[in-house]
Symmetry: C2
Subunit: 441 residues, 2 copies
């Protein structure tokens, strides 16, 4: 889901599919400059839960320079035991934790949610790709807690042809019931609501089919928005909204390569898989009635997912929304640091959209957006003289700051120091996404 | 000013420079699919005031196929006497009318505002280009009513180098004072507030310099937004807000070719001068406390400026906001019908960004946006088989509907009929922008 998929009321989607998220924004705080730690699903979610860059927590591959990777069924690796996940910290603080939806941190038993801080789980370790044959490749399993209770396309129906499935409704029901069960106890709860909807193949439940003006993708956005509304209204109905902190974001920018189901990244360049703004900048709304001052305001300075983790760790204080400072944001693709943002400046050390092999079969990560030295189909190394953009003046990354300008030197000087320090201090994790083996399915 | 220049609160500008327009949208109705009649200043304003396409009201040229034209100082033509302008109609209805700011409908005496329905004027017939030498080219005159009271860069200072001018403040003051003067009379009033700010060379007054995160352009947007706020607050202070209809829009999409002062057209293709969505789709907000039901909502179906005129003519009824139906929208560049929108479909009969002559000197109407057969630098005629886009699924005009699909035939069938009928019924006006003569300055 992309930055531009929200609104009319918030961030500028003309199809206005998100009345509940718009209302959440009006009652909370919208963070306009919020980043994921990676423009692909698995690494992004691993970063959200560990508070560490994928290059540190191991959610990357060294097989193929600057290629993102995720956790398909045949992947051998997963989240390491020594990584400290947000639910583990919260568990120590007395929280009861549930994940609803997609896990994506490894699908072998030792990597599953209940081994990593969650008390409950309803969902799947992977995306709903498929259907597969039952021989070489089984369909993705769906779990209730530690137990497999069926498979996508089998017990959990998805009609790919019609784009119909009840999955999001099931995930909404799970969320609402979990909140109801835990609203009366003194024990605090943590719900990680991670539906996999809007990911292709795109689906929605029947009441949402054809409801939007954007086709299946818009229908899916409307249903997700409906889910957010159901969760917030449940908190209000149970009168626990004033003691519940809710944060909405996405794992990566909208995929824009599929003509039948392209999301929107608003004014930003490209989308999912890329380290341009379209791939990394996320919609982000914080909500906590009574605790958030000046509801309806917009804040720029919250650098990204790692920050959320860090701050949640600090006893879930929302003070960060007022006091956050600029910190550098590192943009990785796989094992390569592609870019750095510091303040309003973003410096691209490497640039690439996607390779000719994909372009030839019609997969383009930047359709309609072509910028010299930026979106080309071979990887370019700009380390000696990074391409620099001012994201205030130029959020679309269209007009690089001139190399010969005083502005370039002034902006690059702290960035160069930050990058040297980052690389010196970096302890890269063991790459978990290097090895596939069909036997682990 | 572009569709994407508003918000965070409304339409998705991450720099959140428009709190007053955001509030206006929250209290009124935002029209997400509102179009100008031309992507350039003079023809757009002529269409707004006459309710007729520039090809009909004469604000085009036949000199150079599909070139937009405007009214520089040496232009001979202007708005014809037989054209019925909105202020003329309102005058007949007993209104007292004032224009504050840029006129742009011809600069010879017979074309000026007081000859065409306005009782008062403070502003200039043209943009604030310059400064010029006093010999061959004089600076643009500024008028109070029928009298010239000075010139830009002389009596009305603009510091191009620093991007500083008090002009917008003067235009705000004029608007507020006009409203104050006419709030107590039984005579209704019409104020056409048409500041020329955000047009290059971009300026703002000192208190707004450096205030935005987008440089000079953002500073100018903030000052315009401040002006809108001043006007709405004046209406409220004088307790006439419940009997005053306010409509905000822009004359064309944001210019995106100037790296130092690029506006934002959100998710749309290209900008000013083009008939892509970025050039023609405008921010549009209607405001009338107590009269607009469901404030804060978004409506898609108001096709554009001509519609506003038609409806204002019908006794300023705001019912149109609820009952408007799809009507075809015609997209012209100069003397050529480039595209048609009907319902969610937009068919491009001609495509072009801008010519190699401009590209060679660094002027690009679509920087960073390159789509085959759409944004190329030679004019392409697609009349035999127009390029078709579904603006619901694909607001960025990136993925043409396949020629061989049933959808293409189904959508093109009514569009072809509409175009035949349009061209058959079209009575083209005498082209007013064909002849230049320095003697008329």
């Amino acid at each position: 889901m992309g930055w531009g998929d929200l609104g009319g009321g918030v961030l500028g989607q003309p199809a206005k599919e998100t009345p509940n998220l718009d209302q959440m924004a009006a009652e909370g705080v919208t963070l306009t400059d919020f980043y994921t730690a990676n423009p692909l699903c698995s690494p992004s979610r691993a970063a959200l839960l560990t508070g560490r860059l994928p290059i540190r927590n191991g959610f990357y591959t060294t097989n193929d320079h600057a290629r993102n990777s995720y956790t398909p069924q045949e992947i051998v690796g997963g989240i390491a035991d020594f990584e400290l996940l947000l639910p583990e910290l919260l568990q120590k603080g007395g929280y009861h934790n549930k994940i609803v939806g997609k896990w994506h941190l490894g699908h072998q038993e030792q990597y599953l949610p209940l081994k990593h801080g969650f008390h409950e789980w309803f969902g799947a370790p992977n995306c709903h790709f498929g259907p597969y044959d039952d021989g070489k490749t089984p369909n993705i399993p769906v779990y209730r807690n530690a137990e497999m209770v069926g498979r996508y396309y089998e017990e959990f129906a998805i009609d790919k042809h019609k784009g119909v499935s009840n999955l999001t409704q099931m995930y909404i029901k799970e969320a609402v019931e979990f909140i109801e069960e835990h609203s009366n106890t003194t024990k605090p709860f943590f719900l990680y609501w991670a539906p996999d909807s809007t990911h292709g193949p795109v689906y929605a439940s029947m009441p949402f089919i054809g409801k939007s003006q954007r086709g299946r993708y818009g229908d899916a956005v409307m249903e997700l928005d409906h889910g957010v509304g159901a969760i917030l209204r449940t908190l209000e109905r149970l009168a626990i909204d004033k003691r519940t902190f809710v944060f909405f974001t996405s794992d990566n920018g909208a995929a824009v390569s599929d003509r039948a189901a392209s999301g929107s990244n608003g004014p930003f360049l490209c989308g999912k898989q890329t380290t341009f703004e379209g791939g990394m900048r996320e919609p982000a709304i914080a909500w906590w009635p009574g605790q958030i001052k000046n509801p309806g305001t917009r804040k720029r300075r919250l650098p990204g997912k790692l920050e959320v983790f860090t701050r949640v760790e600090l006893m879930l204080s929302v003070k960060f929304l007022c006091h956050a400072e600029w910190r550098p944001v590192f943009f990785y693709r796989g094992n390569e640091m592609m870019a750095v943002r510091y303040g309003f400046y973003k410096a691209h050390y490497w640039t690439w959209s996607n390779g000719w092999d994909e372009i030839k079969v019609g997969i383009d990560f930047c359709p309609g957006q072509v910028l010299a030295n930026m979106t080309q189909h071979e990887q370019q190394n700009h380390t000696a003289r990074p391409l620099l953009f001012h994201l205030g003046r130029d959020p679309g990354e269209k007009f690089p700051v001139r190399f010969s300008s005083p502005e370039y030197d002034a902006a690059m000087s702290p960035i160069r120091r930050i990058v040297v320090e980052h690389k010196r201090n970096l302890v890269a994790g063991t790459p978990q996404l290097n090895v596939c083996d069909v036997a682990v399915q």
